[in-house]
């Protein structure tokens, strides 16, 4: 999880990823950032995302992201 937050801060600094739950709803992360995150997730955690996974539910908070990563890792 800490690794994930590091990634987020590298791509888009200045946000409190521990507490924020509206990363998509408040448009804090734009599509560029989202895809950069996806790229890092694929690199760091070896997961493969599809368009179906790019939904606000999965990206609105660091926790939600982590949940998704774990789920995808289990599916592999």
């Amino acid at each position: 999880m800490e690794q994930l937050i590091e990634i987020l801060e590298d791509i888009h600094p200045g946000v409190d990823y521990e507490t924020c739950t509206t990363l998509i709803d408040d448009e804090i992360l734009d599509s560029f950032a989202i895809l950069s995150i996806v790229s890092e997730l694929e690199e760091e955690f070896g997961v493969s995302l599809t368009p179906v996974d790019i939904v606000p539910d999965n990206f609105n908070s660091a926790k939600a992201l982590w949940k998704m990563v774990q789920r995808l890792q289990n599916e592999e």
């Binding site: 599509s31 560029f32 950069s36 996806v38 790229s39 599809t50 790019i54």
Partner: protein, 514 residues
Amino acid sequence: MSLISLKFLIFVVIAVVGYYLIPKKYQWIWLLVFSYIYYISSGVKIVFFLVFSTAVTYMTGLLLQKSEEKESTLGKKKIKARKRKIITLALLLDFGMLGILKYTNFLLGSIGSVLGSSVPEFDFLLPLGISFYTFQSAGYVLDVYWGKCKPERNVFKFALFVSFFPQLMQGPIGRFETLAVQLYARHSFDGQRIERGVRRILWGYFKKLVIADNAAMFVNSIFGNVDQYSGLAIIGVLAYSAQLYGDFSGGIDVVSGIACLFGIDLDENFRRPYFATSITDFWHRWHITLGTWMKDYIFYPISLSKWMSRFGKKARKKLGKQIGRALPICIANIIVFLVVGIWHGAAWKFIVYGLYNGLVIGISGMLAPQFRQWKNALHINDKGKGWMVFQILRTFVLVNISWFFDMASNVPDALKMMRYAVTKFEISELFTAGIIPLGNNNPKYIMLVIATILFGCAVLFVVSVFQERGLTEAELYRKVPFALRCLCYVAILFILPVLGAVPVTSGGFIYAQF
């Protein structure tokens, strides 16, 4: 049926009145019938294309579901391959038809000019709304493919989703998940809704008839006679800013207002685009539904595709993390904007328009970390008001550059105009005899039209600021009592004939020809 014609007004009144008189369970059928009446009124022959698109995407949805049901017997891989074939065929048919009708002459012409020979020209009449309903139905079919929504089994209900008349001409491009449920639901008469719809319709007509159509007269002259009005290039592009926004968002307000009268909320297509702080932000505020469509159905799928992933990995190795991570996204982004450009029309200038937008966004995305460093070094407070104003103005300039390619007849003219914009400025040319088709060349009349445009823009600006600040309907109703609101509506209604221009393009909206 032109949105400004009396026929259309009467059509809407009958449709709305009847809608609330019939039993609620038939309301969606009523909408379907009226949608097809609307479509047929513009030519029976072209209904074929609408029906074709509807049939292809309807059957595809059902076929995809059928395939999934066979997953347990045939296995995941085989089904995936089968589904792939089905969706590919559907998209080829759907977009193929759009492509042939819209781009055949352009492609043949380009090939011809490369080969130096003349090519046959086909006289294809672009069916009403084909650019919009093709995208909407393709979005549905992809949503079913990805399991985002279940296919609609009732062919007539589905036909309504594709043909719902308010959005047929110029969007907004809807999503099945959010639109279908509203279309098929039962709606009760709601006075507040009617007021909201009427208000939105009046506001849309105001933007179109008072701002856009008046500005259009100058735009047509300046862009149509580039050398004659070389001193007015800047004024021309600013007028076009006003015209395009007034025309398109005005038209969207009218159709959204009409949909609202039926109890249906269409997706927003505009959100004060000229307040955008970057080109990226601009595309989140301008033609929003096209942007989100591109994002969900082209940008993400391309970026997440296997070959893009592989390319990304290679790029990381060769060019380092920052560039390697950003490059695939940039390329996907450029592809998206090329499509956006081509969607606008079959001409090289639109390709340049798309590329320009794609490159600006791509490059600024790639250099985001650098920009952050520079801002820190220069001690710029990027949360401050001053910086925001700078961003808005900067974006406005960048957007206007793209408008040159959108409106000029071709790329060379666009470049010429941009050159004039920075080298020449001759306001007296505004009073050249014949610059606008009406007024008997009287300079007082020209001044009147300019004053009208500025007045319209001022009103628009004030309203936009309130909207940007998030003024809710409840707050508005608290501050402005019903009687006063009605008087305002009447004032706008009378402003339409008093200040509105006679449409130069026989009552047409710009995006209705797409």
